[in-house]
């Protein structure tokens, strides 16, 4: 294999010709034969679709992720399971099929999917975390649902009617929500309905969702097959005007299939003729399956109400975890990693006996249905069994304050789960859920007092953990939208919400704090970089017309050159000509290279003399025609401990933008004193990036720390 005699090469393609080649023929040339399913046998071999990239191949394009495995391949692309390193959570990474990345129409649809999903913020719709372009393909970063789809769950066994009924209301809820936002899914089918381990259902794959109001008459492109024939509403199949009622039809088909195990045939037979179920279910199914949209349920909410009415009267719900209807959720079990992390949080304080809040229930009564109430009561009862609980409550004088956060321990070492109350947007957006960790200020035994001096007494939330584990809690004010509520994960460091609160980024409601805490965080500037400070990287240069601005540009000049040469070659040579192939390879290689993230080092600060605080790297970025993205990055070196970095991946900039303020934090604990801080900017792809107003500062932590920040004038390394 290494020092063997010269290996013969195939005269056609140049590949090495192994001695054991099949019938002596070059395998590569054999593979170039047309092997597609078409019976028409063309001369040119079809361009094969690339196989899904392996996790190793993907890794460089997504430095912020640890790609774990490929989950599968669908119509729009490939999906991988990954772990978001900075937040240590599992995510699903969906990549647009690379061979279609150049297809503008397809890319547009993908962008549409991303926006559609991002606009939707519902516990029963798969959450979109990020969307963009990396390594030449578009990607969608989504919530990872650890479970199966409805198809797999149905499997060989039909659902019991109870299970089917339990799954439908949340879907209706989600659909209603989507419809209210003007989005029709158009491809509701069992494969797109995911069930996690708790039996919670989520709608996925809004890939062909249409935004109502969008122009539907864009010709050929729109007549592409949309939806799955068996589940499509008649008006959808005939390319007539479809609206949200098409989703209701599809859901009807799914329900039919769940109950009877079959798809509704040409002659629609009511489900009760096939299985033993309540005849009133027939009415629901048949109404959803009406051929004329006007005769169906006009809203998903209507269907939900009908289903719930019957479901309530259905006797014993199965103990299995498919019961997922209604707002209060049973918290999800924690994976081993979480248990570990949770144990590690034991530094923090967890405490206080509690009882459930009458005030909370009082307010909720008016908004909850009887069934939700019953669920709530059950959850409450469980909470009350516990030994120790924390209660923070809504301040009666400020009903906007919604407190979220309890921690409970009981004798068995299990924390009791309650629901998140009240159902504020922040808790419903999927970013805060029972089972998530939340941080808080305060000391055990002392009453919680808001800055305004109001005593806070109770609140409810849900958490799980090992006995003796302690967490801090915080208050996320009501009215916070998804973009403002921070995803929370257990980390050893203070959680982002905490910092956001301290920095006043969480809005007008004053945070809870301990009485002895100082009024406001102190921000100390370590260094404000001026135009006179030369940057380290030689890639940057001062921009002529702008003041105080540095810029970097990765131009497309080289690519244009290569493309011009290719065009020239193609005039005289065929596609298969080795020179043409080589030129294409060069183009490809360059594209790959350019797509790699490039770290541009701006400044270094030695011995900033900070510890036990939050270091902030702030700058303003502007981009021009950036195909890819740019973001800030900060490196800290800790003597004897190593290096760590922080990246502003939630603030990436692409395309063309005016000045955008970016800021990334780096949390330092006691004992963590970096001796070197590097400020960089990372650029992926081609285009121009400008930066100005670069500043490094530190924010001192709250009362429990003895932070020391001594501003000095650091000497930037040249």
């Amino acid at each position: 294999m290494n020092d063997s005699p010269k290996i013969p090469k195939c005269p056609r393609c140049g590949a090495a010709l192994p001695a054991n080649a099949p019938e002596g023929l070059c395998p590569r040339c054999l593979a170039a034969l047309p092997l597609g399913p078409e019976t028409a046998f063309t001369a040119e071999p079809a361009v094969p679709a690339k196989p899904p990239l392996s996790p190793e191949e993907l890794a460089p394009h997504f430095p912020q992720l640890e790609i774990l495995e490929c989950l599968g391949r669908g119509g729009m692309g490939v999906v991988y399971k990954a772990r978001q390193k900075s937040l240590n959570r599992l995510v699903a990474l969906k990549l647009l099929a690379p061979e279609r990345a150049g297809d503008a129409e397809f890319a547009k649809r993908f962008t549409r999917e991303a926006h559609a999903l991002a606009a939707l913020n519902h516990p029963h719709i798969v959450t979109v975390y990020d969307f963009g372009r990396a390594g030449g393909f578009y990607f969608l970063l989504m919530e990872f649902v650890d479970g199966v789809n409805l198809r797999q769950a149905m499997g060989a066994n039909r659902f019991t009617p109870e299970q089917a009924l339990a799954v439908v209301p949340p879907i209706c809820e989600a659909l209603q929500y989507a419809h209210e936002h003007g989005i029709v899914h158009r491809d509701i089918k069992p494969e797109n309905l995911l069930l996690d381990k708790e039996g919670r259902v989520k709608i996925a794959d809004f890939g062909i969702a249409k935004m109502l109001g969008e122009d539907m008459s864009t010709g050929v492109a729109e007549s592409q097959p949309a939806g799955t024939p068996q589940y499509m509403a008649p008006e959808q199949k005939e390319h007539q005007r479809t609206d949200h009622r098409a989703d209701i039809y599809s859901l009807g088909v799914v329900l039919y299939e769940m109950l009877t195990g079959e798809l509704p045939g040409a002659k629609l037979q009511p489900p009760s003729t096939k299985v033993q179920i309540d005849v009133r279910l027939d009415q629901i199914v048949l109404r959803a399956l009406e051929k004329t949209p006007e005769l169906r349920y006009q809203t998903a909410a209507e269907m939900r109400t009908q289903v719930e009415t019957i479901a309530q009267e259905v006797p014993a719900r199965p103990a299995s975890s498919t019961a997922a209807a209604g707002s209060p959720h049973v918290g999800k079990p924690w994976s081993p990693w979480r248990w570990f992390a949770f144990g590690a949080v034991s530094l923090f304080v967890l405490f206080l006996i509690c009882l459930l809040l009458p005030a909370v229930t009082r307010v909720r009564k008016s908004t909850m249905s009887a069934r939700e109430e019953a669920e709530e009561a059950r959850a409450r009862d469980r909470v009350e069994e516990a030994d120790a609980r924390v209660r923070l409550s809504r301040d009666a004088a400020q009903p906007q304050n919604a407190a979220i956060g309890i921690v409970v321990t009981n004798r068995d070492g299990q924390m009791v789960i309650a629901s998140i109350v009240p159902n504020t947007p922040a808790s419903e957006d999927g970013h805060l859920q029972p089972g998530d960790a939340i941080a808080q200020f305060g000391e055990p035994g002392k009453p919680m007092v808001s800055v305004a001096g109001h005593t806070l007494s109770e609140c409810v939330a849900g958490l799980r953990g090992r006995e003796g584990s302690q967490v801090r809690l915080t208050v996320v004010p009501a009215g916070k939208t998804k973009t403002e509520a921070y995803p929370l994960t257990l980390t050893r460091r203070l959680l982002p919400v905490l910092e956001a609160e301290r920095l006043g980024q969480l809005g007008t409601v004053p945070p809870l704090r301990d009485e002895s805490a100082p009024a406001a965080p102190r921000e100390i500037v370590i260094k404000k970089f001026t135009f006179d400070d030369t940057m380290i990287s030689s890639d940057t240069g001062p921009i002529h017309n702008a003041t105080e601005t540095w810029g970097m540009s990765i131009s497309g000049k080289e690519r244009n050159e290569l493309q011009r040469e290719l065009a020239e070659l193609l005039k005289n040579h065929g596609e298969q000509d080795p020179e043409v192939l080589a030129q294409r390879a060069r183009l490809e290689a360059r594209a790959r290279l350019v797509a790699q993230p490039r770290v541009v080092r701006l400044y270094e600060v030695s011995d900033p003399n900070v510890e036990d605080c939050t270091v902030l790297y702030q700058a303003k970025l502007m981009t021009k025609a950036l195909e890819g993205r740019a973001y800030l990055e900060m490196w800290c070196r800790f003597p004897g401990m190593g290096e760590a970095f922080s990246r502003g991946l939630d603030q990436t900039i692409s395309g063309s933008n005016d000045w955008v303020s970016c800021q990334i934090p780096f949390f330092l604990k006691k004992g963590e004193r970096p001796d070197l801080v590097r400020l960089n900017v990372v650029i992926e792809g081609e285009g121009e990036v400008y930066i100005k107003d670069i500043e490094l500062s530190a924010v001192v932590n709250g009362p429990q720390t003895g932070a020391s920040v001594t501003p000095q004038t650091p000497v930037p390394a040249k």
Binding site: P18, P22, E23, L33, P48, A49, K50, P51, L71, R151
Partner: protein
């Protein structure tokens, strides 16, 4: 055919439209292993032994250890409840096999070594000598074990295809034709000397064209059929074909 949700592979398609292939037979058997499914599995294993062996060898095992290991793996595969191998990979034999092997290596190998060999155990007859030669003779670049497995798999598929093709022609008494025509499978369309072929075959130029065309067409059909034998859904055939083609196209 509409494709399933991206996040989770769909379950098997209804078999009505799909020709029963070996792997689909194995998959269809599920919990109760029938003699047909056992048979099918055994045939599949015999055919695709080489890539596994290459994988095990590339992991650093000596030829002797690799033999032992692979033998043991297959013996177990054919014996015990192999369906508890990775659920998600059941769609394709290729991925199922490598996953099962990795699991075996992770869990079972140590236990297996402790068990005394022989005495009722099914020892599957594999040609380890030729596999070893094959492994050593591979002139490809130093690939990782996984890549080597894939590559070997693709080459094995080609081998099987060509073997079947040859068998077909020989059965029809046209073994000589196959021998003469096979090189034109890879020739460029414009570069096939039909007159020469016509002379060699003793037919007209028109007949020579048809013969070459038929061979290429048949190659494609047999190739797809061979690939199909290793998947259980019709939808997967196309994807698997493309995947194998891509692997072969590398290097």
């Amino acid at each position: 055919m509409p494709l399933s949700s991206d996040q989770h592979e769909s379950a098997e398609a209804r078999p009505a439209q799909f020709v029963t292939t070996r792997w689909s037979v194995v998959m269809a058997a599920r919990d109760k292993a029938s003699p047909e499914s056992q048979d099918a599995l055994q045939t599949l294993c015999k055919g695709y032994w080489t890539p596994l062996y290459a994988f095990v060898r590339r992991l650093g095992n000596s030829a002797h250890d690799a033999q032992d290991l692979t033998q043991e793996f297959f013996a177990r595969l054919l014996q015990k409840d192999w369906l508890d191998a990775v659920e998600r990979e059941r769609g394709r034999f290729r991925t199922f096999l490598i996953m099962a092997l990795k699991r075996f290596l992770a869990n079972e190998w140590d236990k297996a070594r402790a068990v005394r060999r022989g005495g009722g155990q099914v020892v599957v007859p594999f040609d380890t000598k030729s596999a070893e030669e094959c492994y050593l003779a591979d002139p490809g670049p130093a690939l990782s074990a996984d890549h080597l497995y894939e590559r070997r798999w693709a080459l094995t598929l080609l081998d099987q295809t060509m073997a079947r093709l040859r068998a077909e022609y020989e059965r029809d008494g046209r073994g000589g034709d196959f021998e003469r025509l096979k090189e034109y499978l890879v020739a460029e369309r414009g570069a096939i000397p039909y007159e020469e072929i016509a002379r060699a075959l003793g037919t007209s130029e028109g007949a020579a064209r048809v013969a070459v065309h038929r061979l290429r067409k048949r190659f494609r059909e047999v190739f797809r059929s061979t690939v199909a034998d290793t998947v259980s859904n019709e939808e997967d055939v196309e994807a698997e074909v493309r995947y194998v083609v891509e692997i072969l196209g590398r290097v």
